[in-house]
Symmetry: C2
């Protein structure tokens, strides 16, 4: 099998399929520009639970159950699960998928985790380690503000460069069974650190990593931006997008005509007061499931480079003066007739 490609990429000879997916989001996301496309919009962001953390876990579980349900696959047919979230010690995932009783690998890649999970799920299916494998990620505005900034009741002010964490979870069933979307390859990201230290400007922190991974993907596959219908980053937002354009132009690539950012897609910046855009492990995942995949399934987009981006930091590293490096993983998604 000709699998390993270039410096950081894998190209599948027999590409696994993205069989089904599901998205579960909160009220604000449901009121946004693509609100009608999500599978499930919560009436309350507590999703019937007592805490933001439990609510996030519930979204993950529901997203997994919906994704499996759509494919008529039961949880005991799913061999492994790759999952992650933004919270310390990944408790949204641990508590969320516990009841599914699927052997699991916990991941942490900040907001790039949906890319990491899809990479490992497709690598496992392509290697024959499972017929069906689940990838799931989530984030929640309430739990993330508490984790990274202040409890919501403090009503703190946000700079315009700040993101709004998406309340949502996206789950993906990857396997050998044919569908209209194939995962044909991937590029695993390196940690890229330009020395930025502003955790309220994550777009700027993540843009160099996105540039690095997109550039590497083009080199490894011998492609140009024209070979992709769209190049879609996770949550660079308005600030990060312009930096990404500049960085890639310096390297000779103009992706301005075909770039989308999930964080800019999920909210209406003007009317929803979301500043730089949406963010969180749930942002790229829910937009992929609800907005991107249907277009690939229909053949509207032939080949998409999906590049979730993550800012690697914690309140401890921030308070100790460490910089905020970024990481981005790229997944190549192709329409299959």
């Amino acid at each position: 099998m000709k699998l390993v490609k270039g410096a950081q990429s894998i190209a599948y000879d027999r590409a696994p399929y993205l069989i089904s997916s599901a998205s579960v989001v909160g009220k604000k996301e449901g009121a946004g520009p693509i609100g009608e496309m999500f599978d499930l919009v919560g009436e309350s962001d507590l999703f019937g639970e007592n805490t933001w953390e439990e609510a996030e876990s519930t979204m993950q579980r529901e997203a997994c159950l919906l994704a499996m349900g759509k494919a008529h696959v039961s949880q005991n047919q799913v061999r492994y699960l790759f999952g992650g979230d933004l919270l310390r010690q990944g408790i949204a995932t641990s508590m969320g998928v516990e009841k599914l009783q699927i052997p699991m690998f916990g991941l942490y890649g900040a907001c790039s985790t949906s890319g990491e999970a899809l990479a490992l799920a497709s690598m496992s299916v392509a290697a024959g380690y499972g017929e069906y494998i689940l990838a799931v990620t989530s984030s929640h505005f309430g739990s993330a503000e508490k984790e990274f900034r202040f409890p919501l009741s403090y009503a703190n002010q946000r700079p315009l460069s700040a993101h709004w964490t998406v309340t949502g979870s996206g789950a993906f069933l990857v396997g050998k069974k044919e569908s209209h979307v194939r995962i044909s390859g991937l590029t695993v990201g390196k940690i890229v650190d330009y020395g930025l230290k502003d955790s309220q400007n994550m777009g700027a922190c993540m843009a160099p990593a996105a540039c690095n991974t997109i550039w590497q993907n083009l080199q490894d596959f011998g492609r140009s931006p024209e070979d992709y219908s769209r190049i879609i980053t996770g949550d660079l937002g308005y600030v990060g997008q312009s930096i990404l354009f500049d960085l890639l132009l310096e390297k000779g690539y103009d992706i301005r005509g075909k770039h989308l950012d999930c964080g800019m897609t999920i909210f209406d910046q003007q009317t929803q007061d979301t500043h730089a855009g949406g963010s969180g492990c749930g942002c790229a995942a829910t937009v992929l499931s609800a907005y991107i995949l249907p277009k690939i399934e229909r053949g509207e987009w032939e080949r998409v480079l999906f590049v979730p981006t993550g800012a690697l930091m914690s309140t401890v590293s921030y308070n100790e003066g460490a910089s905020v490096p970024g990481i981005a993983h790229a997944i190549v998604l192709e329409h299959k007739a």
Copy 2:
């Protein structure tokens, strides 16, 4: 290839090799019963840095460099890195491996992370995704007390059931190049929750998961405990060990004659005041590298079941009254003449 086995396991037709490894530990670990066996013992637990977190990152980087150095493999020959630690948002790993510039997957599996990393590294090598792949984990007493309990300067009292987090990092180079240790199979763990809520008694929280994974390994491979030279858990400690024995006896297996626990091996409970035993992502990893692997390399132990165990919790989940479920991953290590 006959790879998938039973309900949760993988058996490799062409087992990858554990080519080299390295262990870096703190002062207390260096003064313990196996202190002489570690590659590097720090003179100060700050390892020349300003914070516990930076110290932990430095241990990870040193462990990776040592493991690669022993095998005469440079970092640009290493295709991917799987790494994790106990800190929120895995910053010890992000900041630790950043300089190596190896495409990386961040993991979180609490103290079971060394098993998770070795599982994914061996799965990737066996599938042909890389010639050399690194697995690394770490923990640090200072950063972990701050993360999960109180800053050290509070000098809080510890119950006898509490663990002592190991200051240490273990790194493992997995690949196709022959060595005297093969990773012949693995069993991926499920989350097991007996409803226990005492984060100061993690041995009891993790023992059911260890039992579940060991039992499943024996079923999937059609083996009995006699087929293993040793069955070695990560950090159940004295309390967890006796629960594991009871739970496995109920299922008809007596492993009392061949069980070891890394947390009980690394410290001398009587003289080092470590209570239930050592714990942390660095515990199982450093004991595997320094103590277990040399015995397998020499053929003293023919086949070992290595089962790092993790307690899934955070200060948030604990304060919100959630239980502490456990997870354990099993790696089958075999001597190769």
